[in-house]
């Protein structure tokens, strides 16, 4: 019951935000928070609940981004058509990556995902058809509303809010299903979970594929908002890191953890960028590094776990332990 009240309050704030704080900067900031919250929530399914810390999630982000821009640049279709394409691509890729790498434990899985992500970035950078280093652009002048090319951030804000709601709903549904229980069990002791009949490899793979699908949607939305994608913005390793840190800061393995993390880190980055201009970009990552250290040392369960009272015992295997 109390949970429901909180939920309504958060939802009300989220809906009212861009109307109350309506400067373009604030609306854009809101949209970005939601976008990263989608990506971090998607990551949370495999990184938080399953405890498989993927540092290569940007690969799936890139699938969505390139599919969305590609459907316009290559086929003259609305970027919207790229979304299902991106999902299919991401899920297929997740299956290919997941089958061999999900058997790896802890840090080795993380390392393997980094390797895959960087390989992908290099391949795309050298693929002329995908625009190589320049990337692909969306429609410069929208032909109709389905091109999803708006000057204001407001439509994006509400689009992202809807997608975030769906993402959280899917996550919530998953955590209450057998799959969610199995994932938590596997995270604590894979051996025991298997002895009780949980098909560990398959369950992790499904989680990875679900997470990849949702991450690809985040990538597609990102590309639509910015109107282009290049190897850096669509496949750069720093996007993976950002997503991961947001989830870990807010609370990996908690439903609203990634949202909290995004609501703190995105404004931090945007503000430091606008204050310090181009020079700030580097500083942001210094701050990120400091945050990793602080989370790992003091609150491995993330900020939200302060309120839920649920210390995250799997933290020594999970995100909090990153570097």
């Amino acid at each position: 019951m109390r949970r429901l009240v909180w939920l309504s309050v958060v939802a009300a704030i989220a809906i009212a935000y861009p109307l109350l704080l309506s400067s373009p900067f604030q609306q854009r900031l809101g949209a970005l928070v939601l976008l990263y919250a989608i990506a971090a929530s998607a990551w949370n399914i495999v990184g938080g609940y399953a405890g498989q810390v993927s540092v290569g999630h940007v690969v799936f982000f890139g699938c969505g981004a390139y599919a969305a821009m590609g459907s316009y640049a290559k086929f003259g279709l609305s970027p919207l058509f790229g979304i299902p394409g991106g999902i299919v691509l991401a899920v297929a890729l997740a299956a290919i990556i997941g089958v061999p790498t999900l058997r790896l434990s802890g840090h080795y899985f993380s390392m393997a995902t980094i390797a895959v992500a960087e390989t992908m970035r290099l391949i795309v950078t050298n693929t002329e058809w995908l625009g190589a280093a320049v990337g692909l652009s969306g429609p410069t002048v929208p032909r109709n509303v389905f091109d999803l090319s708006f000057l204001s951030s407001l439509p994006y804000y509400y689009l992202f809010l809807a997608v975030l709601a769906i993402t959280l709903l899917v996550t919530w549904w998953m955590t209450n299903s057998r799959m969610g229980f199995y994932l938590r069990a596997i995270k604590d002791s894979e051996r025991a979970a298997r002895s009780l009949g949980a098909p560990a490899s398959r369950t992790k793979l499904y989680a990875y594929m679900l997470s990849a699908a949702l991450t690809s949607v985040a990538g597609a939305l990102y590309a639509m908002m910015f109107g282009f994608v290049d190897p850096e913005s669509g496949l750069g390793i720093l996007i993976s890191v950002k997503i991961l840190i947001m989830a870990a800061l807010g609370g990996a393995g908690l439903l609203f953890g990634p949202l909290v993390g995004a609501a703190i880190l995105v404004p931090l980055e945007e503000i430091s960028n606008s204050w310090l201009g181009g020079k700030g970009a580097g500083l942001t990552f210094v701050v990120y590094g400091a945050i990793i250290v602080v989370i790992a040392r003091f609150q491995p369960g993330g900020l939200l776990s302060l309120f839920t009272g649920r210390r995250k015992p799997g933290a020594d295997k999970g995100a909090g332990h990153a570097p």
Binding site: Y182, R184, A185, L196, P313
Partner: protein
């Protein structure tokens, strides 16, 4: 024949932890696996549960060959186990721990919860259902291991030193629980160090020493077997002990 192992060998490099061990388990048996530390009984046990792949030999369950089955497949067939060092799901409540087992037979959360509560009732942990599992001490964790395994509705339950680390009183309670489980029609394999447990529970005993089976029979038969006493105590001690009853020597019933 419920469970059968034929000529199981498990080698780690050139070292044979288990060397050509065979066993048959009939419905209703309580088979005890004993032996000194490092005798290979746990390795053999893990070959039965699928946690270790056998180097050679076959494991049959209800006549079917399950040698290459993964642990989760064996669980599905009705083979459940507990761990010597409890593998509690720390991030869950006691009830949720048991639900993981119950989910094997139902995909529905409500149903799994109902079944898990029934199991907790059976093992006397109802009061602790909503407690975080990490708050349990050793006896609670050991009992939770058994509860989780029971929730999978096994035909055979393999207990790996389920009494280790318990005090005398807790051991008595645990023995009662195991008896109750056996009465409900579950066949048991128990690996145990505490002789009292084996003596009072097992219908048949298999003794391991240096990877090989050195004796089998009723508990009384094997504990009076000179080879067994020697394996536990060494040659000289075995001679000196000749006048005493073996049960006494092995940490006997005075526990």
């Amino acid at each position: 024949m419920l469970l059968e192992a034929r000529g199981i060998t498990k080698a780690f490099g050139s070292f044979k932890a288990v060397d050509d061990a065979s066993v048959t388990l009939e419905r209703g048996d309580i088979l005890g696996l004993i032996g000194p530390n490092g005798a290979g009984k746990s390795t053999f046990f893990n070959c039965l549960t699928g946690d270790l792949k056998t180097t050679s030999g076959r494991v049959l369950f209800e006549g079917g060959n399950i040698t290459d089955f993964a642990p989760e497949q064996r669980a599905g067939l009705g083979l459940a186990r507990t761990f010597q060092v409890p593998q509690t799901f720390e991030g869950m409540t006691v009830l949720e721990n048991v639900m993981i087992g119950a989910f094997l037979r139902t995909a529905h959360r409500k149903e799994a919860e109902t079944r898990a509560r029934a199991v907790l009732e059976r093992v006397g942990m109802t009061r602790l259902a909503d407690a975080p599992a990490r708050s349990l001490g050793t006896p609670g964790r050991k009992r939770l291991e058994i509860a989780r395994a029971l929730a999978t509705e096994p035909k055979v339950l393999l207990l790996d030193e389920a009494m280790a680390g318990l005090n005398a009183n807790e051991v008595k309670l645990a023995i009662d629980l195991v008896r109750d489980i056996h009465r409900s029609g579950i066949t048991l394999v128990i690996v145990e160090h505490i002789m009292e447990v084996i003596m009072s529970l097992a219908s048949r005993v298999m003794v391991f020493h240096q990877g090989k089976e050195i004796a089998r029979g009723s508990p009384r038969e094997v504990t009076s077997n000179p080879a067994v006493i020697e394996a536990y105590l060494g040659k000289r001690a075995a001679k000196a002990a000749a006048g005493h009853t073996p049960v006494e020597l092995m940490g006997g019933p005075d526990l």
